[in-house]
Amino acid sequence: MAARPIHRLYLPGAIVAAIIAVALAAPLLPLADPVKMEVPARLALPSLGHVLGQDEYGRDVLSRIIWGARASLAVAFFSAICAGLVGTALGLIGGYARGFLEIVTVRSMEAIVCFPPILLALLVVTLMGPGAATLVIALTILYAPGYTRVAFAATLATRGLDYVTAQQALGARPVRILARTILPNVAPPLLVQFSLTVAAAMVLESGLSFLGLGVVPPAPSWGLMIRGARSTMEQAPWLLLWPCLALTGTILTFNQLCDRLRDVLDPRAGSAGAGWLERAAARVWPDASPAAAPSLLRVEGLTIEIETPTARIRPVRDVSLSLAPGETLALVGESGSGKTLTGLALMGLLPPTMEIVTGRVLFVDRGGRARDLVHLPETEMRGLRGDEIAMVFQDPGSSLNPVHRIGDQVAEVIRAHRDLSRAGAAAQAVALLKDVGLPDPEQRSRAYPHELSGGQRQRTMIAAAIANGPRLLIADEPTTALDVTIQAQILDLLAVFKAKSDMGLIFITHNLAVVAEIADRVCVMYAGEIVEEGPVAEVFARPRHPYTAALIASAPEGADAQLAAIPGTVPLPDALPAGCTFAPRCACAAEPCHAAKPAFAEVSPGHASRCFRWKEIA
């Protein structure tokens, strides 16, 4: 993970500091008197004595800008801070306590929002008379509700989180929970709110001064300067430019500073999100003609690389596997083993930050042609996806579109690849939903995803995946999010479909027991490599890699046996051990294991292991 980008604060921070320093130091600077008039030199152009020129009364503009900054900045900052303190406190209390206190704090603030802001400011100014202090009070009242609403919403979202409940469970007082747990976690949006408020307050201060309700002339403020310059806009337009530049420049740098401050305060800063579901630009490859055609799918030496700011890392290395029609291959491994990336790579759905650097994926299509999916142009790949190759994802909740009826979503998949009328596709969709065991399919096809249970959604996903009779189905943890009784139903459903067609199935999972049930062959992955491959029954009965053996031993089955946990954790792809990737955690590791990488070697026909010592552990 990258270090926190504190350096990104330097530039805007320095500018803001400079602006504030100059405003504070105004009395000490060798400036002309900002209120001293020199009528003969009115509207004079910039000169050596008056760098920015002179205004309609001949006063020095530079001096007025700097002295004006004092008024504008002071009013803006004070009101933003006061509003922030009051508004945040009310929002936190309302959001945490709910009930009666919520009405008192949050709802009363919302009543203020109902007034037009200028009208409210005018009211306060009229009651209290113009002046900087009045402005601060008026702006505080105006801007407090903004903070309250932001703080309230953030508190509502945070108070239900486990770490807040954990504080309650520890016996912490509400005040402590609010101050030490909730406040720091709702601070980022409040910082943004603060920067917006300062900017808005500066603009409104200028506006009110412009109307003659704020800072009292002849004292300078940016709003008053804009007001003065307006009357002479025809003769001296540059006079309007200076205060406007000062205003926008200050606001922009200030917003920058607050934005970056928020990023820096985020403890997880530096992990930028990546766009999804977009194939990286096709690279030109020396395409070797597919020599021996596989029966359905053969992956040869697949290696995936991610470019990070610091290094190029390879989360999947040298993965080779093959699949025959009607066969089920399980890819099993823990998180970080690269099993999901391998599945996405087969679909050509790697995120754009990743690319396949070596390897081939040979797939035999319906016409019997072997095609290399790695080098296939995106348009042809799109033709295969959803048609000959389909995928089912782990979370059925987020992989169905929430705003479309499920029947339409299944019909969509059919129409994308078949020339079929809307009604024909709809009828087929209903038939498919019936096949996957959705109760009352005619009615249910008109339901939206949120109206279905998790198991029903996964059935729908499977219906969409098998809609065009794919030759290859990749299922990525399709039952992990489901309850065991529902998982049993889905596994049975997949087994029934496999029996009816010669579809090949790649089943990605972390659950060994599920593998035992559904798969013919299994590939055990660890830290980006396949460490063992073979027929399920044989691998489970006689594992030939210490990792597989340890995984089986650590499954909490059996009545009495002590659980054999694997010490340590999976190495990160940017910090792989020099020798065998499993050596640091391996109970059987010897000298050579730490020095060199073992080759993936056959231990018996159809059963291979990546271990130097497989004979000894057998």
């Binding site: 993970m1 989180l161 486990d162 770490y163 409940t165 954990a166 504080q167 309650q168 469970a169 520890l170 016996g171 912490a172 007082r173 030490r180 747990t181 720091p184 976690n185 403890p267 997880r268 823990e334 998180s335 109760p439 249970s453 998790g454 198991g455 029903q456 309850d483 065991v484 009784t485 529902i486 998982q487 049993a488 139903q489 596994l491 049975d492 972390h510 027991a513 599920v514 035992a516 049930e517 399920v536 029954a537 489970f540 340890a550 995984l551 089986i552 650590s554 499954a555 909490p556 089955e557 059996g558 009545a559 002590q562 659980l563 054999a564 946990a565 694997i566 010490p567 954790t569 999976v570």
Partner: protein, 327 residues
């Protein structure tokens, strides 16, 4: 059974959900009329599928969620009757471990500070002593004491769960509710945490309410188990007895549906049909009758009471003949 430490008497909890602009008010009865007891130093497993109310029950035992009806006693005190301040003091003796190690730690505070929270809140030690205690706790949960200075995101899921366990142990509690503490972890790490919890449990003499959907894990860690379905306890008893010869049709379906590495063939006929009913519109009579292969007409009308079929073994099923077939 050992002397009771925590006792829930007939507790129920319902949630009222306002479903958006249609303004329908639906009452979801998450937990209904549950009686359970956890003895001193005893580990009680609570097993069931999503929506069965097991997490709600766990939170009620700690009074993090007050029960709608019924009472919870901790060491003889009715939690509901205590003043908030007394209850807060009592919290030093009962703690919680959450499912999601990513959500249960404050992302902005150092691991060591979070572990020390309980000690500081209850004034159990001065800051210097607290630091030493935190270092000791980190060591006991298998982490490097120097790592107390790190932020949560610098740890892996398993390590975070160790931190959460250290935080729960900091006040030397008598009772811990662990809500699916290993479900979010990888298999190999799961085994580490289960082993750690078993170890710590015996060395600290903890009573444990271990909530899980994984029968195998419960079997490893607990002496007794409660099986829940849609807010009700359907079976309760000794772990090994129940899992080797489940008496309630739901427990049977649950054990049959759980795949196993060792036996490749799950009995296909035991697969339950249908989905879990919506808890807002739960079935009349026995909550399980809509999916039960043995349901008869009276199951839809009468709510079966828990009744004893052997010492310490209770089942809620109307079909005596089916229950009698167990084992």
């Amino acid at each position: 059974m050992t002397a009771p430490l925590v006792r829930a008497e007939n507790v129920s909890r319902s949630f009222v959900s306002h479903s958006g602009w249609l303004a329908r008010r639906a009452e979801v009865k998450a937990v209904r009329e549950v009686d359970i007891t956890v003895g001193r130093g005893e580990a009680l497993g609570v097993v069931g599928e999503s929506g069965c109310g097991k997490s709600t029950l766990g939170r009620m035992l700690l009074h993090l969620l007050p029960p709608t009806t019924g009472r919870v006693f901790f060491d003889g005190h009715a939690l509901h009757d205590l003043t908030p301040a007394t209850r807060r003091r009592m919290r030093a003796r009962m703690q919680m471990i959450f499912q999601d190690p990513y959500g249960s730690l404050d992302p902005r505070r150092r691991a060591g500070d979070q572990i020390a929270d309980g000690i500081m809140i209850h004034g159990l030690a001065d800051p210097i002593e607290a630091r030493a205690r935190v270092a000791d706790l980190l060591q006991r949960v298998g982490l490097d004491p120097a790592h107390g200075d790190r932020l949560p995101h610098e740890f892996s899921g398993g390590q975070r769960q160790r931190i959460a366990i250290a935080r729960a142990l900091a006040t030397k509690p008598d009772f811990i509710v662990a809500d699916e503490p290993v479900s979010a972890l990888d298999v190999s790490v799961q085994a580490q945490i289960v082993t750690l919890m078993a170890e710590l449990r015996s060395s600290f003499g903890l009573a444990l309410l271990f909530i899980s959907h994984d029968l195998h894990v419960v079997r490893h860690l607990c002496e007794r188990v409660v099986v829940m379905y849609l807010g009700r306890v359907v079976e309760e008893g000794d772990v090994s007895e129940i899992f080797s010869a489940p008496a309630h049709p739901y427990t049977r379906a649950l054990t049959a549906a759980t795949p196993s590495i060792r036996s490749r063939t799950r009995s296909r006929k035991a697969v339950l049909s249908g989905d879990l009913p919506n808890p807002a519109a739960s079935p009349s009579g026995c909550v399980f009758h809509t999916r039960c292969p043995h349901a008869i007409a009276s199951c839809a009308e009468n709510i079966p009471a828990l009744r004893q079929i052997a010492p310490g073994w209770r089942v809620a099923c109307l079909r005596d003949d089916i229950v009698a077939q167990h084992g």
